[in-house]
């Protein structure tokens, strides 16, 4: 049973690694384009995902497995802020589904420790997804020029 849980945790680590890299890339791009406010948000999200990875790694080790940091799925990079949001929404939707599946797995297995570790992550990931969805909505409603003008400056 532990192998299945370790595999699920390593699966979460893979997705989080993509998120760390994709968000960090978008943070740096936004910074380069001059949208510093967006940049700092993406940067903080990237760091948050890295902290999640650390917690999952500790759990994998405790369960007797080896955290797999080598498996990095491919991802795409936005050429515009709108594309960065779309890519983030796609990634975060997948991450939330995967996390919920892992929660069900460890609950069925009676692994209370991993369950306690994973459940608080669900609303956290959902909040990130919500932020991205809200930004996409604002960008569409306000128009790109107005929305982006609000992202300039610290």
């Amino acid at each position: 049973m532990n192998e299945q849980i370790i595999e699920a945790l390593n699966g979460l680590i893979s997705t989080e690694l993509v998120a760390v890299n994709q968000y960090f890339m978008h943070a740096k791009l936004c910074d380069h384009w001059g949208f510093e406010r967006l940049a700092s948000h993406f940067r903080e999200d990237s760091m948050e995902e890295m902290r999640d990875i650390e917690a999952y790694m500790d759990r994998v080790l405790l369960l007797g497995g080896l955290p797999n940091l080598q498996r990095l799925d491919s991802f795409q990079v936005g050429e515009t802020v709108a594309e960065a949001f779309d890519l983030g929404i796609a990634l975060e939707t997948r991450a939330v589904d995967q996390l919920k599946a892992a929660v069900r797995l460890v609950d069925d297995a009676g692994d209370v420790g991993t369950f306690e570790l994973l459940t608080p992550k669900v609303p956290e990931e959902e909040a990130q997804l919500d932020w991205l969805t809200t930004q996409k909505g604002l960008l569409e409603q306000l128009g790109e020029q107005l929305y982006l003008s609000l992202q300039v400056g610290e």
């Binding site: 991802f75 795409q76 990079v77 936005g78 050429e79 594309e83």
Partner: protein, 68 residues
């Protein structure tokens, strides 16, 4: 958006290569270098080739079915 990060090739460039006659991942690679380094984006490129072929066949069907 960038599909091939190793060679910094965007979706637009890859679609142009496909519309320019590239029908395989290798041909796309020859045309614009996408997918020729680590190869992780090859699945995405395959998907884009299929999508373009689907679009072409849909457009063909529409033309045949629309009365002049």
């Amino acid at each position: 958006m960038y599909v091939c990060l190793c060679r910094a090739v965007s979706e637009t460039t890859i679609v142009d290569a496909i519309r320019g006659g590239a029908t395989t991942v290798e041909a796309v690679g020859q045309a614009c270098a996408a997918g020729t380094n680590c190869g992780k984006c090859r699945t995405s490129i395959e998907f884009m080739i299929l999508r373009e072929q689907e679009l072409v066949s849909l457009a063909g069907r529409e033309q045949r079915e629309t009365p002049p």
